[in-house]
Amino acid sequence: MTYDLAFGWTGTIGTVTLGATKADGGSRKVSWQIGGGTTLPFMEPPPSSPSPLIAFEICDNPDYWSPIIRNYCGDIVSSPAEWAKAAEQSYGADIVRLYLTSTKARNFSDIASVGKTLEAVLGATGLPLIIEGSNEPKIDSEVFLKCGEAGQGEKLLLGTAEAGRYRSIAAAALAYNHAIIAQSPIDINLAKQLNILLREIGVQRDHIVIDPYTGSLGYGFEYSYSAMERIRFSALKGDADLAMPMICSPADTLTIKEVREADAKDIDDVAIAWEFYTGLAAAAAGAEIICVRHPKTIGMLRAAFADMKKLPAAAEVR
C-alpha cells in the first residue's frame, strides 16, 4: 500500500522572467523566474519551483500611503530612491513595486518627472521592479510609455491592466519588452478573457502575470482565496490561457477598519499580522508574488516560505 498523492495533472504553470541582469542587457543584480509549477503550491519536490517572491511596495507621493507605514519607515518615504534602497538592503525584499502616486494629483502633467523617478529608483536598487502607473485614463498612455522607455532593457513588470484599460499598458510592454499584470475582479472567467484579449494584441503568455484581485482579509479574501486555487487548478488541468503565475496584491489591507482603528500600541502588530496572514494563505493557494507594505512582514514570510519548502523525505506528489 502506498499513500502517495496522485492528482494526474497534465498542465504546467508557464514561466515569467522579471528583471534583466547585465548579461541580458539590463542593470539588475538579479533576475527572477517565476512559475514552472506542476502540482499544488509548495508540493513540488525540490528544486523545481522557487519560493514566492516578496515585493515591497513604495510610492512617489506618500500622502497617498498609510500613516502606519509613514510612521514606521520615517523620512525615507519622501525619497523613492532611498526607500527602494532600504527595501533591498534593510528590509530584504525580492522586488520593489513602485506606485507612481504622484500622478494622482489634480491635473498632473509632469510626465518627465515620472521618468526621472524611475531612473532614480533603478539607480538605487539592483532588484527587479514592478511599476504601477497612473489610474487616470487620460494620462495612462503617456505615463506608461515614459516608464517603458525609462526602464528599457530592465524587464519590468508593468501594472495594472484591466478589461476596460489594457491597451496603453500593453503597448508600452510590447514596445520595450516588459511583462504586465492582468487584473480581473475575482473571477476565473474574466481572468481568462483578459489574457485572451492581451494575447490577441500580441502580448505573449510568458509576459503576463495574473492578478485575480485580492480582497483584504475579512473583506473579500474568502473569494480571492478560492479564485486563486481555481486558476491554479485550471492551469494544471491544461488550460493554457490561465497558466500564468499569479500576484497577490492586497492593497486595501492597511485601510480596513480592524487595522486602521487598532490601538496605537498594537497597530504595527495588527498591520503585520494582516499582511502576513493574507500573503501566506494566498501563497498556499498559488500566488507567486506576494506584495507587502510593512517592512517587518518580509522576514516573516521569507522564513515561512523556506520552511514550507522542506518536504518530508518520502513525500511524492504528482
Binding site: M1, Y3, D4, L5, L40, F42, M43, P185, L217, G218, Y219, F221, E222, Y223, Y225, S226, E229, R230, F233, K257, E258, R260, A262, D263, D266, D269, V270, A271, I272, A273, W274, F276, Y277, L280, A281, A284, A285, M300, A303, A304, D307, M308, K309, K310, L311, P312, A314, A315, V317
Partner: protein, 449 residues
Amino acid sequence: MALKALDIYKLLPKKNCKECGDPTCLTFAMKLAGGKADVDLCPYLDDNAKSVLGASTRPPIRLVKVGVGERNFKVGEETVLYRHEKTFYHPPGIVFKVDDTQPDEEIAAITRRVRDDTLTRVGSELRFNGIAIENTSGSAERFAHAVSVVEQQQAHLPPVLITTDPAALSAALVHCGSYRPLLHAATSGNFKEMCSLAKLHGCPLVVRADTAEGLVRLVKDCTAEGIQDLVLDSAPENLGAFLVRSTQVRQLAITRAVPEFGYPVYLDCEKTGFQDAGLVLGISKYASVIVTRPLTPGPAKAALTLRQNIYTDPQKPIQMTPGLYRVGTPDKNAPVLMTVNFSLTFFTLQGYLETSRVPCFMLIVDTEGLSVLTAVAAGKLNEGLVRDTLKKFSVENEVTHRKLIIPGYAAPISGRVEEATGWKVLVGPRDAAEIGDYLHETWKKEAGA
C-alpha cells in the same frame, strides 16, 4: 462505493422501532445513504450489516466532538479538498497552550482570556476554543495541579491534555474526565493504556505517528481497542511536512482510499517552529484542532478572521433580511440611510452609525448579498429596487421628510433613484467611517433647510 438507500434498507432490521431517531427504517436508510447518520444509531444491526454499512455509509471523515456544554466544538465531517467544490463545514478549534510548569496565575489568566475574549465580526462572535495543558514538567502531580487550576476558573472550556504518560493523564482526568477532554497522544508505545483511559472517560483520542504507515497502524490498533473518536497528529517537524501530510490525509480520506485517514487532523503550531505560519496553514489546509501559544492582539484577530473567511461558503454571502432597521430611537425627522443586504456592509455601517449617536433608520435593500460597489457594478442596485423597498416597508409613514441618503459608491444611480422615488437623494460619503461627520454637519444643515 456509496450504497443506494434501497440497498441499505435491505440490510436493516425493518422493525420501524424509531430507536435510531428516525420514524422508519427506510428514512434512516435514506439518511445513511446521504452520509447524514451513523450506523451505530440502530441497536439491532447484525454484524454482517454493520461491517457492510460501516465502511460505505459513514461520512468519509468522522465527526468528533471535543468538550461539553456551551463551548464544545465539533470537527471533521468534511467532504472536499478545495472549498470551491462545495464548502468547508466545521471550523477548526483553536486552543491556547500552557505548560504545567507555568505559574498558577499565568495559567489562570490565559484560561480566563480564552473564556472571555470575543471578536465580533459580521454579526458573529468569534472566539478561541479551548486550553491545552502540556505535561512539560514530567510530573503527574504537577500536571494534575495545572489542570485543576484551569478547571477552577469555571471557564467550561474544552481541555486538551498533552502527555504520553498514562499515569499523568490518569491523574489529570480526575479534574476534567467528564468534560470530554481531547487526549494527546496515543503512540505505538502507549496506545493500550491511552485507549483504556479514553474508554473509561469517554474521551476523543489523538494518535501520533510521523509516517503514514505509522498512523494507519495506530488507527487500526486503537479502533480494535474500541475507540472511535480519533484525531490524527502526523507530527510534522516543519511546515512543508504539515502541508504534504495534511493534504495526503484529507485527499485519501475523502476518496475513501484509506479509511484509516477518515478522522480530523491535529496540529501543534509550536512543533513546526512557526506559530503564525502554522495557524495560517492549519486553517487553510485542513487542520481541525490547532494548538498555539496565546496570541498577541494582531495575530489573534487575523487568525479568527482568516478562519471565518475560509469557512464561509463563497457561494452564499452572509446576508441580512431586507427591511427598515432602527439605530437608537429615531423620530419622524430622523435621517434614512439606504444600504445593501450584504452582512459585512450592514454591520460596518451600523457600527459607525452607533458611534455617531444620531438616531436613524437603515433601509436595507435586497442585492442578494452583494456589497455596494459590487452590486452597482453588477446592476443589482438600481432605482426600481430602491423605489419598491421604500414602498414595501412604508418608509413614508415613519418619517415626515422625503430625503434618502445613499452610499457614496452608489452615486452613479442617484439621479435615477430621485426620479423613480420622488425622494430627494443625498449622496453620502464613500467610506462609512465618515458617516458620523456627515450626519453631524451635512445632514444637520439639510434637515434645518
